[in-house]
């Protein structure tokens, strides 16, 4: 068994890894020790897209390759290492874009059902955002009811997935210069599904054999995610469940309660979870819990469904991706409800070591050994109550082998673009002006988006926390989503007090004035679309260039693992953002493809990728890039502020 302390920086995680070992319970940390990554697949040099292979085309070790040797490095069909690497990379983008976008489609379908009165228990909670989309998409408002407007919006949103030509509607939100760049490069997405399907076609045996052309389609599919499927998911969820506003909650496994029925909600789609929140507060359910000896019903979340219900209801976060099995190892979870994405197939097996019921809820995501209670949008509250009841009935089955760690930390979440805009100017004149001015005057050096997953190939949470601390120490305001936000929340960075403790003097001063933390939690991984909108608002406000690529900003996913992260990275890079990934990089089997992604792509889109495993070095790369952009804007040097007296003003007038 490997050294447990090297697995995480989080004490609760370390304790439960040790408990899992004592309980003979096999978890991801053990499996990562037992199985090393495939050295050929991990660099993108394995093609298994047809039955002639799989073909392996690894780089020769320890020597420079001659052009002749490179020519020989081909698959049976003749595919070069470049084609194979690009194929694998864009297939990752297709997987990620499909995941986010199918989430968006599910939301749009529910949205339309709610508008038509076919989904009881749901309602339109944010009329303002409904009106916003109506204005944007040219839908008549007049005296029409919210539901009438919502039907038009829902139909238009759903049509985005199957559209065959033209441009996605949200493309028009981007800065005008950015739109021109996309049109110039021919990468404006036509329809969400089309771009994903086209990747699968082009990467089929014997189709697109030009890595540059493959990566171009990868860009189109990634943009269909960020400015399409993900943005639709975010916007329609805001209308249905409310646009997030700041609220206080807690994070880490210490939020579980020994004397209450603990239900963990895990996955990415909040459609059913919203109803579970309601069902858990139902007096009948609470009474039933008491009849079983529990003092109440305690909900907590893991992964991005957790972020969704945190942002809107303040439901605490039990932990991030690598803590999903550990939640069960506490022995105190009575049911874990999962929907889609980032769910370990090992959960039912881990649950067998304890008493937890694993409940699958999506027809798209079933598991052997789990109980399936399908989410029925037309009667979601009934499904939700059934799940809560199952958890209550399981409460008396808890064994004595329970350990709930003490660790739990306060955090503030709920920083949507709309809320940041409001916080900086109030209802009177909401604005990004104060942010831009403080970037121009140098109090804030720049802005970084730090997002993404956990990966057991790296120490759990370490890179997120180290990188974000380094950034805020250097006056870089950090925007976060997903499991990354949970990591820094556990480290106490998501409260206003963190500004005084960890941030540079300039950033701390701004945070104190506005009353915000130096690290802003903007939501789940689909909510990276909120970061795109925040960046666009900063551009449009003026003073920081004409495009996202002019802004002193950078992005990172220091512990990434999923295909969604690659799709997100690609849409950030091709929206003009310098983006650094840690842990591993999936194209290093081809020098040409990697060079293009790390350098050449910048000429086309103004953003580029970088790979750096050391989080401090990665943060320095980001700061270096931010400084380069500040210099290009001419705001790199502090300028002396001159207070003009009347004589000086008169002199000015005379000029």
């Amino acid at each position: 068994m490997a050294d447990k302390k090297a697995k995480s920086i989080d004490q609760a995680t370390i304790e439960l890894i040790e408990k899992a070992a004592k309980d003979n319970c096999n978890i991801a940390f053990d499996r990562a020790d037992e199985m090393k990554p495939c050295p050929i697949g991990s660099v993108g040099s394995c093609c298994k897209n047809c039955g002639m292979g799989p073909c392996r085309v690894p780089l020769p070790r320890g020597k420079e390759e001659t052009p002749e040797e490179q020519m020989k490095r081909r698959g049976i069909c003749g595919a070069t290492a470049e084609t194979i690497s690009a194929r694998n990379f864009v297939r990752m983008i297709a997987g990620g874009s499909a995941a986010h976008s199918d989430h968006g489609r599910g939301v749009a379908e529910l949205f339309l059902a709610v508008a038509k009165g076919e989904a009881s228990g749901y309602e339109i909670k944010d009329e303002q955002k409904l009106l916003q989309l109506a204005l944007e998409w040219g839908i008549e408002i007049g005296d029409r009811s919210n539901n009438e407007i919502a039907i038009d919006i829902g139909e238009k949103a759903l049509a985005e997935f199957g559209k065959q030509e033209g441009e996605l509607l949200f493309i028009s939100r981007a800065p005008l210069k950015r739109q021109e760049i996309w049109r110039r490069e021919g990468v404006v997405p036509r329809g969400i599904d089309r771009e994903v399907v086209e990747i699968m076609h082009r990467t089929h045996m014997g189709v697109d054999q030009d890595y540059d052309n493959l990566l171009k389609q990868g860009t189109r599919a990634a943009l269909a995610d960020g400015w399409g499927g993900s943005m639709i998911a975010t916007e329609l969820q805001d209308i249905l469940f409310g646009t997030p506003s700041p609220l206080l909650s807690q994070v880490n496994l210490g939020v579980l309660k020994k004397d209450e029925v603990n239900i963990i909600i895990h996955g990415h789609e909040p459609l059913l979870s919203e109803m579970i929140v309601a069902a858990a507060q139902d007096p009948q359910m609470l009474e039933m819990a008491k009849s079983k000896g529990a003092k109440g019903i305690n909900l907590a979340g893991i992964c991005c469904t957790a972020n969704e219900i945190l942002m809107r209801h303040g439901v605490p976060l039990a932990g991030n991706f690598l803590q999903q099995e550990l939640a069960l190892v506490t022995g105190a979870v009575d049911a874990m409800v999962v929907d889609v994405q980032c769910i370990f197939e090992s959960l039912p097996e881990v649950a067998q070591c304890y008493h937890t019921k694993i409940v699958t809820t999506s027809y798209k995501a079933k598991m052997k050994g789990a109980t399936h209670i399908e989410f029925e949008e037309h009667d979601a509250l009934t499904s939700a109550k059934e799940i809560v009841k199952l958890a209550i009935e399981n409460f008396p089955n808890r064994g004595s082998n329970i350990h709930i760690p003490e660790e739990k930390t306060d955090l503030i979440a709920g920083f949507s673009h709309e809320t940041i805009n409001y916080l900086l100017g109030g209802l009177f004149r909401a604005s990004y002006r104060p942010l831009n001015e403080n970037i121009i005057n140098g109090r804030i050096r720049g802005v970084a988006g730090v997002v993404g997953c956990n990966n057991p190939r790296a120490m759990h949470d370490e890179a997120h926390v180290a990188m974000v601390k380094e950034l805020i120490k250097n006056d870089v305001l950090v925007l976060q989503t997903g499991c990354s936000a949970m990591a820094t929340a556990k480290a106490g960075l998501l409260v206003p007090e963190a500004a005084a403790q960890y941030a540079g003097a300039g950033l701390a001063e701004v945070c104190e004035t506005v009353g915000i933390p130096p690290v802003l939690h903007m939501g789940a991984c689909v909510d990276n679309s909120r970061i795109l909108i925040a960046a666009t608002a900063a551009v449009k406000d003026g003073g920081l260039g004409d495009d996202i690529s002019d802004l002193p900003v950078a992005g990172a996913a220091p512990e990434w693992m999923s295909e969604k992260a690659i799709a997100i990275g690609q849409y950030f890079v091709t929206s003009g953002v310098f983006t650094v990934f840690g842990v591993t990089w999936p194209t290093t089997g081809s020098k040409e493809v990697t060079d293009f992604l790390f350098e050449g792509i910048e000429e086309k889109y103004g953003g580029k990728w970088a790979f750096e495993q050391d989080p401090i070095k990665a943060a320095r790369l980001m700061i270096e890039h931010i400084d380069k952009k500040r210099a290009a804007l001419g705001i790199d040097k502090a300028r002396e502020r001159v207070l003009y007296d009347m004589a000086m003003r008169r002199e000015l007038d005379e000029v």
């Binding site: 609220l247 206080l248 104190e512 003026g542």
Partner: protein, 72 residues
């Protein structure tokens, strides 16, 4: 509110007392407190806010990088 006082070294003097950070420790008990969007009541108020607060997308009266007062 009680102010924190911190000691810092200053040029030409040994140490001076300055006011420390002023973050309030109070934590909102009511989850509704941060929900600012309920401050806008009627549809007219909401549309007006969009035109003003989200002016770069939904308003006409604004200046910025894409609508300059003085062309660059």
């Amino acid at each position: 509110m009680e102010y924190k006082v911190e000691k810092k070294s200053a040029p030409g003097r040994d140490e001076v007392e300055v006011l420390g950070e002023t973050f309030e420790e109070g934590k909102p008990e009511d989850i509704e407190l941060g929900k600012w969007r309920y401050k806008l009541d009627t549809r007219e108020e909401k549309l007006k806010y969009l035109e003003n607060g989200e002016r770069y997308w939904y308003g006409k009266e604004w200046y910025g990088s894409e609508k300059r007062k003085n062309p660059a």
